[in-house]
Symmetry: C2
Subunit: 407 residues, 2 copies
Amino acid sequence: MKVNENYLKLEKNYLFIRIAEKIKEFQAQNPDKKIIRMGIGDVTQPLAPVVVEAMKKAADELAVKETFRGYEDSGAGYDFLRNAVSEYYKSFGADVPASDIRINDGAKSDCGNLVDIFDDSNIILITDPAYPVYVDSNLMNGRKIVYADSNEENGFCAMPSSDGYELDGKKVFPDIIYLCSPNNPTGAVYSKAQLAEWIAYAKAHDAVILFDAAYEAFIKDDNLPRSIYQLEGAKEVAIEMCSLSKTAGFTGVRCGYTVVPSELKTIASDGTEVSLAQLWNRREGSKFNGVSYPVQRAAEAVFTPEGQKQVRESILYYQENARVIAETLTELKIPFTGGINSPYIWFKCPFGLDSWSFFDKMLHEIAVVGTPGAGFGKNGVNWFRLTAFGDKDATREAMQRLKDWVK
Amino acid sequence: MKVNENYLKLEKNYLFIRIAEKIKEFQAQNPDKKIIRMGIGDVTQPLAPVVVEAMKKAADELAVKETFRGYEDSGAGYDFLRNAVSEYYKSFGADVPASDIRINDGAKSDCGNLVDIFDDSNIILITDPAYPVYVDSNLMNGRKIVYADSNEENGFCAMPSSDGYELDGKKVFPDIIYLCSPNNPTGAVYSKAQLAEWIAYAKAHDAVILFDAAYEAFIKDDNLPRSIYQLEGAKEVAIEMCSLSKTAGFTGVRCGYTVVPSELKTIASDGTEVSLAQLWNRREGSKFNGVSYPVQRAAEAVFTPEGQKQVRESILYYQENARVIAETLTELKIPFTGGINSPYIWFKCPFGLDSWSFFDKMLHEIAVVGTPGAGFGKNGVNWFRLTAFGDKDATREAMQRLKDWVK
């Protein structure tokens, strides 16, 4: 048999696995050092009590024949959860019907698998820096990628180029556009006007936007969009992916959702109209069997009034961490983005170092771990990502170590 | 953008969604009729008590900061569960190290996604009839499929053809071979000698076997293999997929596992040796974030001595249903396979009908639902699948209705 040789061209290790290995090696050599991890974007606050209760109640239902549930009919998610997500969207002004929503086991799966419904000849646009999954999941199918630079000059908010993008010596326009706002890794957030510009660009070039809204719950400023569907015309051009990982601490529980609006259509080569939602449902119908029932009940509890109140406490906790980090960087006069409407803080590496050298130096000298910007693309080579998802005291201590070291 | 037009060539509806629609329509027209469902292979017995307790305990851990868990480091499954699965394999004589096992959210996902690591030029062999996911997940990538006939003559156990298979007017040998034993839909089980023949064939033609062992727990006969790794040389040619769906009633809880042995290697076009496990880990590292922690704890409980005792009770319950169905068919002199070492019974449609006509007739005349064999391939057009996963009384009643009707 022949393997898919596109895989052989990928970086051998997924970014966070490489970091985990470096930490393991350092800890083995320095067993007494207390490492503070601000690298991987993983939460640390426990699940909300209502969420735990809902999961346990659902587990109990499965213990009794009368209330036992097996396969979901469609695998798209139970109505109780799809309706709850639809209502949640309404709460900040986005009209997303339950029928357009599919429940998944976390945004990463859908983000990786959505590419399956598109032809391999499509040209992909990814803002740089970006979440590595966007790049890898397209390189795995041998697709061509162009990059839109997010950098200090544009406040790490790449905007579309009316001239197109350079690819193999030619100017091209993208077919599939990845956007993430609040951005991972930079923490930058698109304004409504900026998103409107991307939507118009996608329409003009018959492109589809894959919008990653995983960090929407961290937006404090009511003028900033939490969903692309708050913008006029988005349903004709955009798929949105979201997750409970960061909103409700579900990184270990695994639940998210993807919206493929019924309005999103294109024309096949034989001239027939094709619904992207139908293709995606067909893909998932053959390759996915739905999310664990107790997990769906736990997710439902997140969207109850009590659930929203409880998860809000964790978000406030992380936002306070972000504030502390931002304050420290300001004090140290280190340029940064993010940290206000986002759990990520993206700063310029001190000492004029590149990001991997800074990673190693920071790990070895003050035992604090972050994520090298180079792992997210070429515009990150001198930048570094910290997350606000840590423990409050550990975050304060890390910032104290940083101050004593950099000052 | 261009969509993946391979999707437009697929059957519009996944088999079981089509059946669900037919049932819904009939029930709406006949609200008083009590339909007995023996179509979809879904379990009906509740979860084992130890499984429910383990899930609830894990949920409680996530409610407390000190025991909270977020992302799994690798996403391949926690060691506690991978070790438990490895021990389970040992219990019936298969040596599968924990490091070769990846935990997943049910066999369907991996079964569908595994094709990603292979080149689209590979020729696929699927025994016919077969689980539709094998066919669909390859047609989605535009792959060429050849079929090995499972039929009445060979006891529904297709064996390899030393002459190769006809494809576009030429004789070809397959690169990727799907085998399922105990078989879905026929209930037929390969002997060790038969599997050894497939392994030798795969070796001779540099092919890989994707072995679906989802129903292994139903094998009563100790001489029949429950894992392909009970056979000499299997690790160099075979990937095995298994699931807790049928073994432990996890159809709604979602957990399974896939084994890609470290011995399974091939040579890339540049002459370098490639480990399939490494490719698969790379794929999953970018597109999957692991299984819900409480689900993994629930799965771990299945493999404890008490868990095995409790899930065995459900299996015995379903095996008794299978016995009742087989006894009825024998009495009615209807030819069938399965039902002894398998939860499926595959029988020839009475009245000389094709399988969809028989489906409609049986639904309308005695309100019993099964699965038309045509949904699994051309060798199923006159055959029909019943499952033993139903309620004991309902199964007995369905068999009484069948007797009164066919006699």
